[in-house]
């Protein structure tokens, strides 16, 4: 269960502020929590202002002034060294939160993630503990082109030993990040860059949200929609449009994709008999394909229509705005998929 904050106060916070809150509160609570990455403060060695960026999206702003450069470490542009240092430090008494400015950069440092950090616990007979978090920005929508816009969560979800967290709103972002920092395994915390300014009510006190427990932003009985990360907002929008036509959608946000709350998805499909999965990643060998296979295998008798997947096409992310807009799954495509599984 979610740990409830002790005081009742809360305020409207952006996704960015909620993440900053989680980092600040955990760093105050636990001196072994450190942050390292490129421009996490910014201005290192420069004549101008310190903390010039606070991360290129401003997520870690203000942390270096409070905790100092010893705990908020601007690094050279060396992703393998950043992730390796985080993993090694995690084995040796620290709880590092490493930042990959764009999660696309796992291409540069993937060995340190999948062949090193992910395997220590198992490979060393349960003797190693690797309490590290890798924060990274994912997703399209910024016109950032093919090398800065990927949704690579299926790649890391495939790897045993890694936990993969994909918050879709500010409330979940704070609770899940605090949970991630306190977790003793390597956790990939993936922030969709299109969501940084989205606001919702967020408790001021620290709280945690356990991994593997889905959220249910809309409840319904006709069709189950499982949506990931940024797509949750669009799924809710689609569900609200369909509700006006009398179609009742059960929107499930898994929040963490590894571990995955299979039970909630299967229970929902048992009621609805129909499933639409929405994910901005490509379809092949993806999370959408994975959830589809789980339901086909374990919930086959509940299904009353073929499962539909609404994903990005099997293409790199294009730069041109008209192409990028066509690339990202739209509310229209979700609505049409729901109608399709209803035979409407």
């Amino acid at each position: 269960m979610t740990t409830t904050p002790t005081s009742g106060t809360s305020s409207l916070k952006t996704y960015r502020e909620a993440i900053n809150d989680a980092l600040r509160q955990e760093m105050r609570r636990d001196p072994t929590v450190i942050i390292l990455g490129e421009e996490v403060s910014g201005g290192a060695g420069c004549a101008g202002q310190d903390d010039a960026y606070g991360g290129v999206f401003g997520v870690t702003k203000g942390l270096m002034p409070e905790f100092g450069r010893e705990r908020v470490i601007d690094t050279p542009i060396s992703e393998s060294a950043i992730i390796g240092a985080a993993a090694g430090a995690a084995n040796n008494g620290l709880r590092p939160v490493a930042e990959l400015m764009f999660f696309d950069f796992i291409g540069v440092c993937f060995d340190q993630i999948f062949n090193q950090a992910a395997k220590f616990r198992y490979m060393f007979g349960g003797k190693a503990r690797t309490p590290m978090v890798i924060r990274g920005t994912v997703g399209a929508g910024w016109r950032a082109g093919a090398q800065h816009s990927n949704m690579l969560h299926p790649v890391v979800t495939h790897i045993p030993g890694l936990k993969v967290v994909m918050p879709s709103n500010a409330y979940d972002a704070k609770g899940l990040l605090i949970q991630a920092i306190r977790d003793d395994d390597p956790v990939l915390f993936l922030e969709h860059k299109i969501m940084y300014d989205l606001k919702c009510e967020v408790p001021d006190e620290p709280y945690t949200i356990p991994f593997g427990e889905a959220a249910f932003p809309r409840q319904g009985t006709d069709v189950t929609i499982v949506a990931i990360s940024n797509m949750v907002t669009r799924a809710i929008e689609a569900a609200d449009l369909l509700a006006k036509e009398g179609i009742s959608c059960d929107v499930i946000d898994p929040r963490t994709v590894s571990p995955l709350d299979e039970e909630s998805i299967l229970e929902s499909v048992e009621v609805t008999g129909r499933l639409v999965i929405v994910d901005e990643a490509h379809e092949r060998c993806s999370l959408a394909a994975d959830i589809s296979s789980i339901v086909a295998e374990k919930g086959f008798s509940s299904l009353r229509a073929p499962i539909r997947k609404v994903t990005a096409p099997h293409a790199p992310v294009p730069f041109s705005p008209v192409l990028e807009d066509a690339y990202v799954p739209s509310v229209d495509r979700i609505v049409n998929a729901v109608r399709d599984v209803l035979g409407a």
Binding site: C46, A52, Y53, R143, A144, H148, F319, S320, P321
Partner: protein, 323 residues
């Protein structure tokens, strides 16, 4: 006279074209006509031109996220570039790449690169192609002071030395990797010295001095063409704009950019030198200034007028080769 006037005019024209192109990119970005992340190279023109001016289209260059200048210096069409940066169907990469991924294989420009340190290993491959096929062509990679610390770049330096590849590594040290000082991020005192430790000639030059940079590049290019292997050049320069267009640049010192524009502008330094030596006359350069302004203005206009890609056709085109 050590340089022919035609050569000097070509150098001036190319440097000026880069300058005006970048300044218009900043203006058009601010006006909402250019989407995404754009990294301007104004202030760094002398290096791109010194390095590329004598290359052929068979020589290969690999660039960085700050790649407009390299493209122009290598002969890419500025109209096609502007259309690409605006995401249009008739851009150099049909609007699929954008500023950070411009390429023009016909001109031997194998790509800007949005991954820091992505280019040098690829340029090793281009150099290996030339060496294996027995041509005298060379490859040249551009890296920043930031990417000098990427494992891919350090591996590429050693790899090129081991295989004696015809690869000229150019390191543009503009003092900043994004918003972090190069002095902070480099653990050594001298990047040129560090690169030399990989087993290749390695020089430091003042990258705001076209002539010094050109001469260093000539030495490295000749060496590569003669099969003597790779070289490295660290060229110190100034970035007049932010890491990206729109960067508030809070990390920069007071008056730092204004001072650099007065004292370390490579275009001004070039102009002053050729006038002092009486190698060129001011009216010749003034005429180029006017021509370049018109050229870039027309590139912007053509970019604005160009058609968008058609998602129904273009979204799925070119994921794979078709037969």
């Amino acid at each position: 006279m050590p340089y022919q006037p035609e050569f000097l005019l070509r150098v001036y024209r190319t440097m000026k074209t880069i300058r005006i192109f970048e300044e218009r990119c900043i203006k058009e970005f601010e006006g909402g006509n250019i989407p995404g992340f754009v990294h301007a190279s104004n202030g760094q023109e002398a290096i791109a031109v010194a390095a590329c001016i004598d290359l052929t289209y068979k020589d290969i260059i690999g660039s960085t996220h700050r790649g407009h200048g390299h493209c122009i210096a290598k002969g890419c069409d500025v109209i096609g570039m502007m259309k690409e940066i605006m995401g249009k169907a008739t851009g150099l990469c049909k609007g699929k790449g954008g500023s950070m991924h411009i390429a023009d294989f016909d001109k031997g420009m194998i790509g800007a690169n949005a991954i820091v340190g992505g280019g040098p290993p690829l340029c090793n491959g281009a150099a290996l192609g030339a060496k294996t096929r027995g041509t005298k062509d060379i490859a040249m990679s551009f890296s920043g002071d930031g990417s000098a610390n990427q494992g891919t770049v350090l591996e590429a330096l050693n790899f090129a030395a081991v295989l004696k590849l015809p690869h000229v590594f150019i390191f543009e040290n503009n003092g900043y990797g994004e918003g972090t000082s190069a002095n902070y991020a480099l653990g050594c005192d001298s990047l040129a010295e560090r690169n030399g430790a990989f087993g290749m000639p390695s020089e430091y030059v003042d990258g705001t001095d076209f002539f010094a940079t050109y001469e260093a590049c000539q030495r490295a290019i000749q060496r590569a063409r003669q099969g003597e292997g790779p070289s490295s050049i660290e060229a110190e320069t100034v970035r007049f704009d932010g890491h990206f267009i729109g960067d508030p640049q809070l990390y920069r010192g007071k008056n730092e950019i204004a001072d650099a524009k007065v004292n370390r502008d490579c275009l001004t330094l070039f102009r002053n030198r050729v006038l002092a030596e009486s190698w060129l006359q001011a009216p010749d350069m003034d005429a180029i200034d006017e021509e370049v302004e018109l050229l870039i203005a027309s590139a912007v206009q053509e970019g604005l007028n160009a058609p968008d890609p058609d998602p129904a056709i273009d979204l799925m085109a070119d994921v794979y080769c078709s037969y």
